[in-house]
């Protein structure tokens, strides 16, 4: 080795000679880690790819027909092919929108309170703790809670709006937490700059802090929405399936994609099975479109350099 040709000082003793080939031990470790990381990645991707391929293969033919997007399942039986998922798409979107309209203001205002006002207060810590608990509530428990409140306590009928209330319980903690993270990312210097201009705290929040965090908040909302759209348990308890188009949230039943999947799955025949795959693929497409829209909004409104 060339290191022997001149006197090694302390530094050279501490650092490996750049010309020394990598030791076998390190090479083995490096290879093992590389293989392990790649293997983990591939294993994680298998179910995802599998699901998408299966959905495309089995549901693709159903989804490409125009009537799938324009017709409901009204009057269709297990023996009559055709009909569509329009009623379920409308139901899912309607419930998601109503859920979002209730959840988003609640969640954003909670996050603003927690970050901007209640950071070191006792009440803030309590709210934050409760939020952690709410995050961990299983969706079926949220559904049962609303059932107990809506049907058992108030004696009301099961209606789509009750489903929305259960979904609100699931969406609020998700959006609150993500909004909190985004608000934390807004540098304090910007708040101080605004205060120093004689701007009140509330105007600073609405005009400086929220716009700066806007794209991140939107992303969080869409992730929460995507989660809520695929939620099934509260729907099974509170939102019986209907084959017809329904838009009234306060009476009757309403079809949604998850309950459509569940209803058709219970039939033993080839035609309903196609509808299961079609509805599943439709749900994934909707969530994908939502994410895409979110990305576009985020990019369009991102902090410009």
């Amino acid at each position: 080795m060339s290191a022997a040709t001149h006197t090694p000082d302390l530094v050279e003793q501490a650092l490996p000679d750049p010309e020394t080939p990598q030791s076998t031990g390190r090479r083995v470790k490096d290879r093992t880690a590389t293989v392990a990381v790649w293997a983990a990645f591939v294993i994680a991707m298998i179910p995802l790819v599998w699901i998408i391929v299966a959905l495309l293969v089995k549901g693709g033919s159903v989804v490409v027909s125009a009537s799938w997007w324009t017709n409901s399942q009204r009057g269709m039986t297990t023996l009559t092919a055709g009909g569509g998922a329009y009623h379920a798409i409308i139901g899912t979107l309607l419930q998601a929108v109503v859920t979002a309209v209730i959840s988003v203001p609640l969640a954003i205002m909670t996050a603003i309170y927690l970050i901007e006002y209640g950071r070191s207060t006792r009440f803030g810590r309590i709210v934050s703790f409760m939020l952690d608990i709410l995050t961990g509530v299983p969706s079926i428990v949220a559904g049962l809670f609303i059932y107990a409140l809506w049907v058992t306590t108030f004696g009301l009928q099961r209606v789509p709006f009750a489903v929305c209330l259960a979904l609100v319980l699931l969406m609020v903690p998700v959006v609150t937490r993500s909004t909190e993270e985004m608000l934390k990312l807004v540098p304090n210097e910007l708040r101080e700059a605004s205060y120093a201009l004689g701007v009140s705290k509330w105007r600073t929040i609405t005009s400086i802090v929220l716009p700066t965090a806007f794209s991140g908040i939107i992303t969080g909302i869409l992730l929460g929405l995507a989660r809520v759209m695929g939620e099934t348990a509260p729907l099974l308890i509170l939102g019986p399936y209907s084959q017809s188009i329904a838009t009234n949230l306060f009476s009757g039943f309403m079809g949604t994609l998850p309950t459509m999947i569940n209803a058709e799955r219970n039939e033993v025949a080839a035609i309903p099975l196609d509808r299961v795959w079609g509805a599943a693929l439709t749900l994934i497409i909707l969530v994908l479109l939502l994410n895409l829209a979110g990305r576009l909004i985020a990019r369009y409104s991102a902090v410009r350099k």
Binding site: R119, S120, P187, E189, L190, R191, E192, A193, S194, Y195, A196, L197, G198, V199, S200, R203, T204, S207, I208, P211, T212, F214, V303, R304, K305
Partner: protein, 258 residues
């Protein structure tokens, strides 16, 4: 519009910790007053009490009085928001609002305080940017984001933003410490021009800078770590640098410590 500041027996606390002790001084209108002193001696803390910005930090409070001409800034019923409207501030690191264009940055203070009217705003943008010696560099790209400017330009943008609300006093907390020498020179020239309209207080770690830009200099020091910072002496910059009364000032200025 420039006003005088009279500080009397001011103590600043962070919760139970006394950060600054017993400061009494007068800041003359239409002049530049520099605060110098070693790190942690409370000069920035004290500066922030002059527009009640320290209240942003939980647990911070003051005793004593700060008078802006006839107005007691700490009197009951005085709104810190309105205090900050008349006592503006420029920070150590340039902090333009990242979501806003150059134009919107300059008039942020006006717009957020409810000023509308295209013409007034256009005028304010031009006057303020000219006042901050930035107009010629940015007049063709006012709609471009403020964060796209260089550090020195960003800092001048922040100064334009601060003077756009026409404050009576401008506080500058080490405004050049993140800038290169050329940008620093630009800011120093600007300070010199601004003092004909504003009362300026500047905190600096750079003693040459204090000597170059200020009319009066205040030297802050602390007796020992953990002890509160104190005002050692204040006087004409010439006198502080050439013939200080206190031994500590002389030691600091001649580079014997700090």
């Amino acid at each position: 519009m420039a006003k005088r500041i009279d500080v009397k027996d001011l103590n600043v606390y962070y919760s139970s910790f006394k950060a600054v002790e017993d400061v009494t001084m007068t800041v003359e209108p239409r002049s530049v007053t520099a605060f110098i002193g070693p790190s942690g001696c409370g000069k920035s803390t004290f500066l922030r009490t002059l527009n009640r910005m320290h209240e942003v930090i939980p647990g911070a409070r003051v005793e004593g009085s700060v008078m802006l001409d006839d107005l007691d800034l700490y009197a009951k019923g005085v709104d810190p928001v309105s205090v900050r409207r008349s006592v503006g501030m420029v920070f150590q690191r340039p902090n333009p609002f990242p979501t806003m264009s150059i134009y919107d940055n300059v008039i942020a203070g006006l717009r957020l305080n409810g000023v509308k009217g295209r013409k007034d705003l256009d005028e304010a943008v031009e006057t303020s940017l000219k006042g901050a010696n930035l107009w010629n560099e940015v007049k063709d790209r006012l709609k471009k984001p403020g964060a796209g400017l260089s550090g020195g330009q960003q800092q001048r943008l922040c100064i334009a933003r601060a003077i756009a609300v026409r404050p009576q006093v401008l506080l500058m907390d080490e405004p050049c410490s993140a800038l290169d020498p050329i940008s620093t020179l630009a800011i120093e020239d600007l300070v010199n021009e601004l003092k004909s309209d504003f009362t300026i207080v500047i905190v600096t770690h750079n003693m040459q800078q204090a000597a170059r830009v200020s009319d009066r200099t205040a030297f802050f020091n602390l007796a020992a770590t953990g002890k509160p910072g104190r005002l050692v002496e204040i006087g004409d910059t010439q006198k502080i640098f050439n013939n200080p009364i206190e031994r500590a000032t002389e030691d600091y200025i001649s580079g014997r410590f700090g």
